[in-house]
């Protein structure tokens, strides 16, 4: 490979530094550096609410579930009572009719009974 002019001259720039420059440079640089503020990370204070929050949420959740059960139970009780009352009414009528039919109760006896009740 052909050598260029730059390969034939030495790789020195001809620049120099004052005597002892690099020796004193380190000290000067370090003296000029500001102190770093050391940030010690302290754990943030834990408030009562932070500690109680999960328990409160859990209690609220259980209360909600209980309330839901209560509402469902109340609704179904209500429906059951209505049905039972209706069933009871139906069964009363059937009993009276059966009694009248099977015991040959005369119309006069029935009138007599209602007259006594009144």
């Amino acid at each position: 490979m052909k050598k260029g002019i730059l390969d034939n001259i030495n790789r020195k720039s001809g620049m120099k530094v004052p005597d002892g420059y690099f020796e004193s440079l380190h000290e000067r640089v370090m003296q000029n550096l500001p102190e770093k503020e050391i940030i010690v990370e302290r754990p943030a204070p834990v408030s009562f609410w932070t500690m109680a929050k999960p328990w409160v949420y859990m209690a609220a959740m259980f209360a909600g579930i209980a309330l839901m059960f209560k509402v469902f139970a109340w609704t179904s009780d209500d429906m059951t009572n209505s049905k039972m009352e209706a069933d009871a009414k139906d069964s009363d009528t059937e009993i009276v009719e059966d009694f009248i039919f099977y015991n040959n109760v005369s119309d006069y006896t029935i009138y007599e009974y209602f007259a006594e009740v009144d």
């Binding site: 001809g14 380190h26 640089v29 370090m30 550096l33 770093k36 050391i38």
Partner: protein, 188 residues
């Protein structure tokens, strides 16, 4: 002299209690290469001294941002290069020299180099410096890193953020220009 263990120093730089001592080692280790990098860009010793101190000060101020993703040397060189380029731009602005007149400014600097007590080069070294001063900033940076510091293209690429291919082309152009300049001075 103790061996400079970059991984160990990088780790120590992350801890507040060991940070300052580790940085002291960094200053000791990188003072010379960074100084010469800056000096070859700005030519004056006094300017290079100021810029080197600013480089270390900036590195110290931003040490928390250094996460060890790049090499410590790459990070420091980047700061030094930015400091040098900002300084040269500021000088040009102060002297009302446009970017096109960049070489005029550098040749003016060279005139001051001749009277600089910290320049004792021979005639060929003076011509070489003159030739380097005629180069655009980027070519000058690449030429200095490759020719004087003998840095690898990969390392220069990391510092300047330019592809290796582009750097090779830049260096080739720089060498051609310098050789042509030296020929006009009958250096061969």
């Amino acid at each position: 002299m103790a061996q400079f263990d970059e991984d160990k120093i990088t780790e120590e730089l992350r801890h507040p209690d060991t940070c300052r001592n580790a940085f002291s080692e960094v200053v000791k280790h990188y003072s010379r290469p960074l100084y010469w990098q800056i000096r070859r860009m700005v030519t004056s010793h006094d300017d290079a001294d100021d810029l080197l101190q600013n480089t270390f000060l900036k590195a110290w101020d931003n040490i928390e941002l250094f996460r060890g993703e790049a090499k410590l040397s790459t990070w420091l060189y980047r700061i030094a290069v930015n400091e040098s380029i900002n300084f040269l731009n500021k000088q040009r602005r102060m002297q009302n020299i446009s970017l096109d007149g960049e070489n005029d400014y550098m040749l003016t600097s060279l005139t001051s180099l001749e009277s600089d007590e910290y320049f004792d080069g021979d005639e060929i070294q003076k011509y070489l410096q003159e030739a380097i001063m005629t180069l655009p900033e980027k070519q000058r940076l690449v030429f200095n890193m490759k020719y004087f510091d003998e840095m690898k293209y990969e390392d220069i690429s990391d510092i300047l953020g330019t592809s290796v291919g582009a750097l090779k082309a830049t260096y080739h152009h720089a060498v051609k220009k310098i050789e042509n300049y030296l020929k006009t001075k009958n250096v061969d």
